[in-house]
């Protein structure tokens, strides 16, 4: 048996899903957080049944891919939990009537019940239940209010006895329902609501955006640097390093196993940046150099998501994004990509056309470095001075913009216009924020550590068998002549296919000049996506388009590497 959670975007389906199944999924305050269905299990009438969190949709006649997923899923459901935003009953009922017309057992959940009260909206639950012919249950999913009631009343789900309405009758019927069950009393604009309007006003909105951007950036750096400098690094150097030195002694300070696990000793001791063993650099890179930045980035992103700022950013960016053949909503994959390119690529599903998806995914994969990579670039290039960091990120921005501009001119087709619901601002729930941050950190570690270790292991083995030397000879004309990098940089470029953060880390022991560090970082960012992102791109764009996208990346890397090498 399958139970489906369905409803308009951004009504809280994912929160209810987490509450009912205990499976945690990312939930945020913007339409389109869930682009793929998530499955969990739940006990229902003494049996284990499947609960599916379906991406939000306004209608069962879909317009974008995330909505298509919803309409496809519907066929498989045996019971539907229709989640409705209580503050916007009228519009939500449009989908509700479509769902009821499917003649499947249904329960309607009026979520954000507290919000409706605050806004002076009164809904007669009993009457609504009678008119719809199915149970109606109020909930406040974020706090868990009403979830137990929902759970116990699932067994009362009913196939509505009413006739199905034609399209024209639907609104008429909704109008009748609203007249009978809903009373809206006037309420004064709260401070938050005034701020809502101001944050998308043409001038104040842009000013606010700049403030948000600068503040976020400063906080991310402050927390990231602080955690590394005062917590993670001292711990590794003071407590972990002596332990590894003992291990090194046990392994005899050298030999094959020593070199794979501990790596090379630099002047008789461990250098976490350069030793390059599994338990030295292999742990140090993801845990000490990257994790603190990933933590601080997702902390800030979580707040911005849950407050509801991202859709407003989409509106402000709409104009710029149109020059790239996209519309404002495409800023969301870009922002998510700054954390990790994988969710970034997945979220291109909120875009309507294939062309848009291609442009957005390509631009994201080519010019948006993930936080892991960014942290490593800051570590490497930052040591030569902020000026060089600015060159790396400036280059990536220029690539992002000019490539988008070119793709928009070259690719046939038009770019659709933005059409996006702007949710109310909400004060984030601390528990929900913490849970989301935790999930993302665990997700990062589970994904990063195996790949980082694999990368380190592979490099060690390939070195030993002389494979890297061979590749270095073949690629020397590009790497050394065009890009001006030392031949030894090729191993970093090879690891970059697996994990970009380790790859940047591998440039550190090479004693590069500032210019070489800039070229190396920029090329590593651009030349190819990491394997995890590549797999998602194939799934989202298809093999042919991913191939095209990859060609663009390699070509761009060739050009910018050469240009930067000449300039610097």
């Amino acid at each position: 048996m399958k139970i489906l959670l369905m409803g308009n975007p951004n009504v809280g389906k994912s929160v209810i899903f987490s509450r009912l199944t205990g499976v945690h999924v990312i939930a945020s305050n913007y339409p389109g957080t869930t682009v793929e269905y998530t499955k969990g299990t739940l006990k229902f009438e003494d049996k284990k049944v499947e609960l599916i969190d379906v991406p939000g949709t306004y209608t069962l006649e879909p317009a974008c891919e995330a909505e298509k997923v919803a309409t496809e899923m519907v066929k498989e459901g045996d019971l539907i939990i229709n989640v409705v935003d209580s503050t916007n009953l009228e519009r939500n009922l449009y989908l509700t009537l479509q769902i009821l017309a499917l003649k499947k057992p249904t329960v309607v959940v009026l979520n954000m019940w507290d919000d409706a009260k605050h806004r002076g909206i009164k809904i007669d639950l009993e009457k609504l239940g009678k008119l719809l012919g199915v149970p109606v249950i109020p909930t406040v999913a974020v706090t868990g209010e009403g979830i137990k009631n929902l759970y116990t009343r699932l067994k009362d789900a009913k196939v509505p006895p009413h006739p199905t309405y034609s399209k024209d009758e639907r609104w008429l019927h909704i109008g009748e329902i609203i007249d009978k069950v809903q009373v809206v009393t006037h309420h004064h604009h709260t401070l938050i609501e005034k701020f809502e309007d101001a944050s998308i006003a043409p001038f104040f909105g842009i000013l606010l955006f700049l403030v948000v951007l600068a503040t976020s950036f400063q906080i991310i750096r402050f927390i990231g640097e602080g955690l590394i400098g005062y917590a993670f690094d001292p711990f590794f150097e003071g407590i972990y390093a002596p332990l590894i030195m003992k291990l090194s002694a046990v392994l005899g300070h050298g030999g094959f196993f020593h070199d794979i696990f501990v790596g090379k000793l630099i002047n008789g001791s461990i250098d976490f940046g350069q030793s390059f063993g599994l338990v030295t650099t292999g742990f140090y890179v993801p845990v000490v150099m990257v994790l603190p930045y990933v933590f601080s980035f997702y902390l800030i992103l979580g707040v911005l998501e849950d407050v509801g700022y991202l859709p407003r950013l989409a509106v402000l960016m709409d104009n710029i994004m149109h020059r790239l053949g996209l519309h404002g909503a495409a800023i969301i994959p870009m922002i998510l990509g700054l954390g990790c390119n994988v969710p970034g690529a997945l979220s291109t599903r909120i875009l309507e056309s294939k062309r848009e998806k291609f442009i957005a995914a390509t631009l994201m994969a080519i010019a948006i470095p993930c936080m892991a990579q960014t942290a490593m670039i800051i570590g490497l290039v930052g040591s030569y001075g902020g000026r060089y960091l600015a060159i790396v990120f400036g280059t990536l921005f220029i690539v992002w913009f000019s490539l988008g501009f070119i793709l928009n001119k070259v690719l046939k087709g038009e770019s659709p216009e933005i059409f996006l619901e702007i949710p109310h601002y909400r004060i984030p729930n601390i528990g929900a924020l913490a849970k989301k941050l935790w999930m993302r950190l665990v997700g990062f570690l589970l994904e990063a550590i195996p790949f980082v270790l694999l990368g380190v292991l592979l490099v060690n083995i390939l070195y030993t068998i002389g494979f890297i030397e061979m590749i270095s000879k073949i690629t020397a004309p590009i790497v050394t002549v065009l890009w001006g990098l030392p031949e030894s940089a090729i191993s970093a470029l090879m690891v970059g296919f697996l994990r970009k953060d380790v790859a940047v880390g591998m440039l550190r022991p090479l004693n590069l000049t500032a210019g070489q560090a800039v070229v190396g970082s920029a090329v590593l960012a651009v030349y190819f996506p990491c394997v995890a992102t590549f797999a998602v791109l194939i799934r989202e764009l298809g093999i042919k388009d991913t191939f095209k996208s990859a060609l663009i990346m390699m070509g761009t890397a060739l050009i910018i590497g050469t240009v930067l090498n000449i300039i610097l």
């Binding site: 916007n88 009228e90 519009r91 043409p202 709409d318 059409f419 996006l420 619901e421 702007i422």
Partner: protein
């Protein structure tokens, strides 16, 4: 009768009809923008950027091209 794009900020109007394909009408309708509804223009971004409207107490951003196809009667 004027288009939503030509409305002034903070003006309230009633949607009369949607000029354009059935696809557009359907999408607008699902979002609550349909004949007979009151619609308030809240903001419009400079340089032909998107327009933000309030419908059913809920804010929606839409492109100018779409807004041009939504015809409204503005109360006097």
């Amino acid at each position: 009768m004027i288009s939503l794009a030509d409305m002034k900020v903070n003006q309230i109007g009633t949607v009369i009809r949607v000029d354009g394909g059935a696809g557009l009408a359907k999408r607008l309708e699902a979002m609550g923008i349909r004949e007979g509804k009151n619609i308030t223009k809240l903001n419009c971004m400079m340089m032909r950027g998107p327009i933000i409207v309030k419908i059913n107490g809920c804010q929606v951003a839409l492109g100018r091209g779409m807004a041009k196809k939504i015809m409204v009667e503005v109360g006097t």
